[in-house]
Symmetry: C2
Subunit: 428 residues, 2 copies
């Protein structure tokens, strides 16, 4: 009987893993430079923790179950509730701003498809305790910097809006069925123009309202150009004004980061209505072929929701699956081979003692070293050394051993030299 | 309502995590130097995968459940079955030896207690495809090297035996109820001498058999000294001889690694009988106060068990919980504080643009930088800079800004100097 991994779950063999490790390290190095600090948390939590934020609808999409103590628990489908729990638990002592990151595995029971898996990694970046747009822009800047550090210049765009903007627009239009309209807006990219209009019509909009809404939705493009164009189209109610002024400040800040080039206004970005309270953003590939690479925004109610005193919050999540698809398409996913600093080749078991001595001496100097464990002949050892990407092969053959020497073969140039073992070790 | 983490699960806040990251990096850097290559695998697998190796008894100790597709699945309680599945899946193409490591989270539904948690990290190190003791000793050497790299010299000992040795001894003693005797041997450290003898008696041993067995069990101590003492006590049946000769070879190899000092013979080390086929070892604290820090051995049947062609295997697992207890007791667990290269202090929102420019320039040079996001006054910004362990504070005040300058305060020495901003940037 042979076993397989479950559908939507991935195995990573060494070459895959080496590439992935490079990508993950670049991501984490970038967020670290912004002063975000790593946290780590359980992969299993009480199911109630997720009901609080997302209601019962989340239950259909989680790996949840009863444990042997009859507790309702779940594999975590997102990190935010856990992070909120951790903040609330130490709200009295944590210095502000709280700038945290983590890159946990998450699990969602959804139908696996391109860019959507049942188990994936997700970078989470959050700032708690800052009400101003300085935090929103810092979070967006770190996200843009991640994409740039991965070589994705020109391949991505951050689509930004403010949740209050569209809510205020609907308020000004005196629309009754806002949720249905938000739902229609969310589906706009996937349906024809006529279908979209029918959805709005079904939600109770008339032609004038529709025309106004669509003109606003279509005012998108580079943040610096689109924002001024949007202004005359907007009503002047408080929600609209708060949202618009926030976006103006974010534009100013993104200019300070020299990153406004990567930011577009897109009033159709809504995200979870019950959750976000201000800025919302998503990162897409410029060709518009893929799902969102990541998304986030401001959610100032979260800490109160989890039993803490009110605390502002802004952050994002970035999964690894769509990112990998984009990086492969852009040809910047690393093609890693296994690398080894030294392979120690011994032509007789009698030379093993010296071989191990050399290997251990090199390992003490932080070198990656392998030795023969299979008693292979010279040619098969050379083949193996090649297969593990050995940069140098140390040869301990009869000739070398007779004189207390070692031959060093450079596998890149093919050059070979012979040295006293002691001289070789001193040269390291 | 406030939430808590589940019993036996841990939250890691930034300071904890920074310490943990240092420890994990040291562990992984060490195994990498031995040429082990990282793999990663699902945290959830078909429950059948674990029944194969451990039978139904594993079910009581796992977080297992039915998913929404009615599959019997489980959070992985150990990595070996998954690794075996991955090896079998590519057995035709993987080059030998297969040297893999991984440090996944594992989950076990057991009563949490000191050193035993429901969720923990475990380093797994395996070599597949080598039948000789060269692989056993390479694996043990990498384990010893991990302990040394963590500053635990003098705090640990590797207790080594060969599963065939004790099995052969019981065979020679013509004992009928070997499982009961192995179980008694396993409990010996936790019961009195009389209780131990009663257990052996209940298992059907007579006084002569018992005396012989106990004299063998008591022949423990430094491998190089205890092995020759053991020899005259042993019967000469094939199992005993295979086990003994294997241990002699391992001693010779550990001498080549200059690590025999850390190895003790302990014939009472048995581990899972159904699973191990040769060498078995466990690492303990020298004071003998804690559970095993890690354990492993040779399990040549595993790949066949999972549907592959026969392939030799040797490896170990090391959990993080007991290791942390030992490191804290030995006072070598890192006391990490949050560190920051630069804090950029701005005394007015008008200076934010320059502040962000400096921050981004420094981040481009791989520095960890924070800026003010809360509009704090000078003194509160200095306090914050201190609290995040800032090495240097860049001050952009009225005086500095008037002259295109920046003051650089060294937080270690307290010294402060003022430079043209452009000169400062060029000096990086």
């Amino acid at each position: 009987m042979r076993f397989q991994s479950l559908k939507g779950f991935r195995d990573f063999y060494p070459e895959d893993m080496a590439a992935r490790r490079i990508v993950f390290d670049k991501i984490l190095d970038t967020v670290k430079r912004y002063g975000f600090r790593e946290v780590d948390a359980p992969s299993v939590e009480s199911l109630d923790l997720f009901r609080i934020k997302s209601g019962d609808e989340i239950l259909g999409q989680t790996f949840n179950f009863k444990d042997k103590g009859d507790r309702d628990i779940t594999l975590i489908p997102e990190l935010t509730p856990t992070v909120a729990r951790m903040v609330v638990d130490r709200e009295k002592t944590l210095r502000r701003p709280i700038k945290w990151y983590s890159m946990p595995k998450l699990w969602r029971y959804e139908e696996p498809q391109s860019g959507r898996l049942r188990e994936f990694y997700q970078l989470n970046v959050d700032i708690f305790g800052v009400s101003g747009p300085e935090a929103d822009s810092e979070v967006i800047a770190s996200g843009i910097d991640i994409m740039l550090s991965l070589g994705l210049e020109g391949e991505f765009v951050f689509k930004i809006s403010d949740r209050r903007l569209m809510q205020g627009v609907l308020e000004a239009l005196n629309v009754q069925n806002a949720p249905a309209i938000f739902s229609a807006i969310d589906k706009r990219g996937k349906v024809s123009h006529d279908e979209f209009k029918k959805m709005l019509y079904d939600a109770g909009m008339n032609d004038i309202q529709m025309g106004h809404l669509i003109s606003i939705l279509d005012t998108k493009g580079p943040l610096a150009e689109a924002l001024p164009k949007l202004k005359p189209l907007l009503a002047r109610n408080p929600l609209v004004m708060e949202g618009y002024e926030n976006l103006e400040k974010i534009l100013d800040l993104m200019k300070m980061y020299r990153m406004e080039y990567y930011c577009e206004l897109d009033p159709s970005i809504i995200r979870g209505l019950a959750y976000y309270t201000g800025t919302v953003f998503e990162c897409f590939d410029t060709k518009g072929e893929l799902r969102a690479i990541f998304g986030g925004g401001r959610y100032d109610k979260i800490i109160g929701l989890f039993g803490g005193a009110d605390m502002c919050a802004v952050g994002f999540g970035m999964g690894d699956a769509v990112l990998e698809i984009l990086m492969r398409r852009a040809n910047v996913w690393p093609h890693e081979k296994i690398m080894t600093d030294y392979y120690v080749l011994t032509t007789s078991p009698d030379y093993r003692e010296v071989g191990i001595f050399l290997a251990q001496s090199l390992r003490e100097k932080d070198c990656v070293v392998e030795t023969d464990m299979l008693g292979r002949n010279f040619s098969n050892q050379m083949k193996y050394a090649n297969s593990i990407g050995a940069k140098k092969v140390l040869i301990l053959g009869e000739k070398e051993m007779a004189g207390g020497k070692v031959s060093i073969k450079d596998m890149t140039t093919g050059e070979q030299e012979t040295k006293e073992i002691i001289t070789f070790l001193e040269s390291l």
